[in-house]
């Protein structure tokens, strides 16, 4: 009875862990529309997933220990794998961030295409430009222009 209950509980823990990681991925799909409710659910799951998954790993370990079955440890291992996968930012897998910024002076860029489009800002007397074709991939650049911290987005 105790084994059966622990087994069921472990199954629930696995399902919860998978749902917490999988649901946001399914909801936040660029080829699907997101309703306001689905969006808030996905974001809520993402915000709470570290705590939920930590609890899931702990619970799975304790339940597996109680069960003393190989399959129990297998399921606990699955929870660990799901937790590790859930720690990755899939969006940054697809679109890498720019962590190190390098700039060149406009007048020195004699071979640059004059028709290439840029996002341009001017703050504190300092002029900065971010090529649209780069931004279309990276999407976000954290920068400081004229002493003002900004985030350029596209």
């Amino acid at each position: 009875m105790r084994t059966k209950r622990s087994g069921w509980l472990l199954g629930v823990v696995v399902v919860v862990a998978v749902l917490v990681v999988l649901a946001p991925l399914l909801i936040l799909n660029p080829d699907r529309a997101q309703s306001a409710a689905a969006l808030q659910l996905a974001l809520g799951l993402k915000r709470w997933s570290p705590a939920v998954l930590a609890l899931a790993v702990l619970s799975a370990g304790l339940l597996a220990r109680r069960l003393r079955r190989i399959w129990g440890w297998g399921l606990a291992g699955l929870v660990v794998v799901v937790t590790v996968l859930g720690s990755f930012n899939v969006f940054e897998w697809m679109f890498a961030p720019v962590d190190r910024l390098e700039f060149a002076i406009a007048a020195d860029l004699t071979t640059a295409d004059p028709e290439d489009m840029l996002l341009c800002v001017k703050l504190g007397g300092e002029s900065r430009a971010y090529p649209v074709r780069m931004m279309a991939y990276h999407h976000i650049v954290n920068d400081v222009v004229g002493g003002v911290p900004i985030v350029a987005t596209y």
Binding site: I105, L118, R128, R133, T153
Partner: protein
């Protein structure tokens, strides 16, 4: 935000407009609005910085000492191709704009003043080169650069004056791109007078967003379009 510098990471997508997450509080922010939609800072608004979308040629001429972000070597192969906007224009949209009778991926330039929104069809704007309009009660002028691609918007009021002025497209004069009907001065694409009583003074810029119609309309449901 509230005295803290926030750093942002790409975090998701909402009807084909991306979400970002700040590392400091874990709040989620909508890219197009700069507003936090979930997390401890929900409801907060990032102060928007005025920007222009310009061709490199125009920007370099105006800012020869400006600094341009350089490609990151390992990712250079993933950057968009020169014709990427044409390809993106054919991609399906998840936002249904049928009720507006405007194609979802029609490129527009959007302006929002005092709660009133208006979008201008980009190709039509580029063809016409200059548009005078009134949005939210404010007279504005949208002008296209000599490159035929860059667009800026300004308050159509002469510096220090409260009355609206008419602006006309004028090329091949003294380097200016438009003239006003009141002083007859020439104005550069940067919106600054090149001579006359307003020499050195500039028109107040108006923020505009170049975007696909579906994305602009998603957050500006009352927007008109011309």
């Amino acid at each position: 935000m509230e005295g803290r510098v926030l750093r942002f990471r790409l975090a998701g997508i909402n009807n084909q407009n991306f979400l970002m997450r700040d590392e400091e509080t874990g709040s989620y922010w909508q890219q197009i609005t700069g507003q936090a939609i979930a997390g401890p800072l929900k409801g907060k608004q990032l102060p928007l910085v005025h920007w222009d979308e310009l061709s490199f040629g125009v920007w370099r001429d105006e800012n020869p000492r400006g600094k341009m972000l350089q490609p990151v070597g390992e990712y250079a192969g993933r950057y968009a191709a020169k014709d990427w906007d044409k390809k993106m224009g054919k991609r399906a949209s998840v936002v249904d704009t049928a009720a507006t009778q405007v194609a979802p991926r029609e490129l527009v330039v959007g302006v929002k003043i005092d709660g009133a929104s208006r979008a201008y069809r980009y190709e039509k704007l580029v063809g016409g080169k200059l548009v005078m309009d009134r949005v939210g009660g404010q007279p504005i002028v949208l002008v296209v650069g000599l490159d035929g691609r860059s667009v800026r918007a300004f308050e159509a009021k002469l510096p220090g004056k409260g009355d609206a002025a008419e602006f006309y497209r004028k090329e091949e004069l003294g380097g200016g791109i438009m003239m006003d009907s009141v002083s007859g001065a020439e104005w550069s694409f940067a919106g600054c007078a090149l001579g006359g009583e307003y020499q050195g003074k500039c028109l107040a810029p108006v923020r505009l967003v170049k975007d696909y119609w579906f994305d602009w309309w998603s957050y500006n449901k009352e927007s008109s379009i011309r």
